[in-house]
Symmetry: C2
Subunit: 408 residues, 2 copies
């Protein structure tokens, strides 16, 4: 059961002018469910993406990187049920054939299309069903919604993930809407499993390439379910330019920061939604690390805590076995850490200081916080001014069950 | 249930001349079980150790490091039930008081004693019961066995771990006997939770300091249960010098390599025993990585596979979802890895080559190997001559159960 994850409300998802969505039921892995999404982008939009750092990255990731270098993307196609990763040369040919067919059907060039896949690794795509499904998804473009699109890209997700905001950029009202999927194999290292955020704001493609990295870094790159970096992570931002704001051409333009803030406002709840829907999750945990010398060491500590199976099972059990958090801080890789300066709090309860248990700490207080479903772990390193947060979930029986059963 | 872990046979554990063991039931955490071990070493023995790299290392680890700089160790005391880690200045005072009392009872100096603790983190030692138990353990010295000692240091272990061999060193018959404990919070980074190996061979203390690192690196530093590096990892080698071999004084002496081989023969099965008894383990997995440019990158790949919760749950389910192993190889951190040269085998079955599924691979074959309890994962990187192995276990419901319940 997802942790405090609101159902997607189609009525609150704002369309983005210049972007249309179409879905189809192609029977890629299971019959009867939406499993293909086509995104159509009007000519002139800026599109940029970041992708997994996994060396065994999926064939579609390789093709996306290649096609994005042409920067006049018009169509994207996402299939669920099969990741087309660990599929060698045949997998690359399958991804190219998908782009070719989409280009043929839409009268565009193959390089103007981006392919995405998610699902089981090391299996070939069912090309007949995938190609046959493209026409249906294109026919659905006039009717497709962001809610349907969010549903079409799910794998082990128990709920669709979509979010929408309005914002002012250079005094112009803009809209940002995004979708994401992911619940396991989540330790994004560039981006999440799959995330698509669109805005009608106008920005150059070059600048959007910088912006998409900054947004991924502040959102999807700060969450982890199980520490496994996927082969297919992709995060795409589309800027259709229909909002009427003056084209953003420089990072020093205040509108750049305004747009970044608006994109983060959508990308962060999407990243959090992945954790809230994390495989087997029963709790949503924010690990806030302060007082680091630099961001890098704050991240090391945050991720060591967020990855520790011992910490995560203790959260599942509501057991304030907080020494496990101290142990994770200790092995996070800060070799000159002075543990006597570290302070650890759980919610509003100071747990540890001066290298040991805080004199004021009462186990009942720790227990009270551990029983909540939204938990803040605060670490003060006492070394400098840097801080950051990472987000994770607990580790339950159901994580094992889901991953022991996933393919069967 | 441990995986193919033989019960300790007291009759096969060879005593080490110059080393005596005494245990007691002090009621540290639970009444009625052996929970204190005292090891007595005759004057003139060489003793060396390696310890956790965790910055939140336990108070006894700090004291061990300090006292080992004096290098005339006569007594060691190990308690289970409480780790005396994350206990600040009070914890240090407790560990020193333990040494003081042991020195008083034995007529030695406090610096000639080494304290060790294992158990729950961030709780103070019950000093009254611990100090009271020392006399009982000392009184047991004439009768204590290595089997009793192995039992006295257990925490969540389901079986005691002890092993013994004879070997020839410089044509002289020597004996090596060792014990270890550990089942969770296992990702040793210098040594395991606790391991003690004694030999009657003669070697200088200086050289033993080098040797203990080499042995730990080949054995305990190659295993992982959950990727959590403990606060209390300690691995000690005692060389009593009673065997009659000529004192080993140089690494270039062939006897040095002979002794190292003999120590590894005991330390490796002890390290494997920790995995076989890994929390919730149902399978024993050897990850053999070959064809690396250097040992470091082989280790990165081996550990990425051995740490992946997705890989480990797939082994639990006997599900040949082998794309998860490719994904782990891909994110292991070899940034210039050419995945088209990587070969992956499961036991005798070639699973993947040329970046995808091997043409010869049949899922029934993968399934057959996955159902075994002893599984070999072989990765050939195709980059160079280096190779290494790491060992791990699968990830089951019981891992979660054990760690959600550990303190209750």
């Amino acid at each position: 059961m997802p942790v405090n994850l609101l159902q997607v409300d189609n009525n609150q998802l704002k369309p983005i002018s210049g972007v249309r969505l179409g879905t189809a039921r192609a029977g890629i892995r299971k019959p009867g469910r939406r499993d293909i999404l086509v995104i159509e982008v009007e000519s002139g939009a800026a599109v940029a993406g970041v992708f997994t750092t996994n060396r065994f990255c999926a064939a579609p990731v390789l093709i996306c990187r290649e096609h994005l270098s042409f920067s006049d993307v018009r169509y994207m196609v996402v299939n669920t049920g099969c990741a087309n990763a660990g599929t060698g040369e045949e997998g690359l040919a399958d991804a190219r054939a998908t782009c070719d067919e989409l280009a043929r059907l839409t009268g565009t060039r193959s390089q103007q299309t981006l392919p995405f896949s998610t699902g089981v690794i090391m299996e070939r795509l069912p090309m007949d069903r995938l190609l046959a499904g493209l026409a249906g998804a294109l026919a659905n473009l006039p009717y497709g919604t962001w809610g349907d699109a969010a549903e079409a890209i799910m794998t082990t997700d128990t709920q669709a993930k979509a979010y929408s905001v309005n914002a002012l950029v250079a005094h112009c009202n803009i809209t940002v809407t995004g979708i994401a999927k992911g619940a396991g194999m989540i330790h994004p290292n560039m981006a999440t499993m799959l995330g698509y955020v669109a805005t009608d704001a106008a920005i150059t493609t070059e600048l959007l390439k910088t912006l998409v990295k900054e947004v991924a870094d502040a959102t999807f790159n700060r969450v982890t379910v199980d520490g496994d970096t996927s082969t297919n992570d992709s995060f795409i931002v589309i800027a259709s330019g229909k909002a009427g704001n003056a084209l953003i051409t420089s990072e020093s333009d205040p509108a750049y920061s305004e747009l970044r803030a608006a994109l983060v406002k959508v990308a962060l709840p999407l990243a959090h939604a992945i954790i809230r829907d994390g495989e087997g999750a029963t709790k949503f945990i924010t690990v806030q690390v302060e007082g680091g010398k630099n961001m890098e060491e704050c991240l090391k500590v945050g991720k060591a805590i967020a990855h520790s199976p011992l910490v995560k099972t203790a959260f599942f059990a509501s057991d304030p076995n907080l020494g496990r958090i101290l142990a994770a801080i200790g092995y996070a890789g800060i070799t000159d850490l002075d543990v006597s300066k570290v302070r650890l709090s759980l919610g509003d309860v100071l747990v540890s200081e001066h290298g040991g248990r805080a004199a004021s700490y009462r186990e009942e207080e720790g227990q009270r916080v551990m029983k909540e479903t939204e938990i803040l772990v605060k670490v003060e390193l006492g070394r400098g001014p840097a801080s950051t947060s990472v987000w994770t979930c607990d580790f339950s029986y159901d994580y094992v069950k889901i991953n022991a059963d996933y393919r069967s």
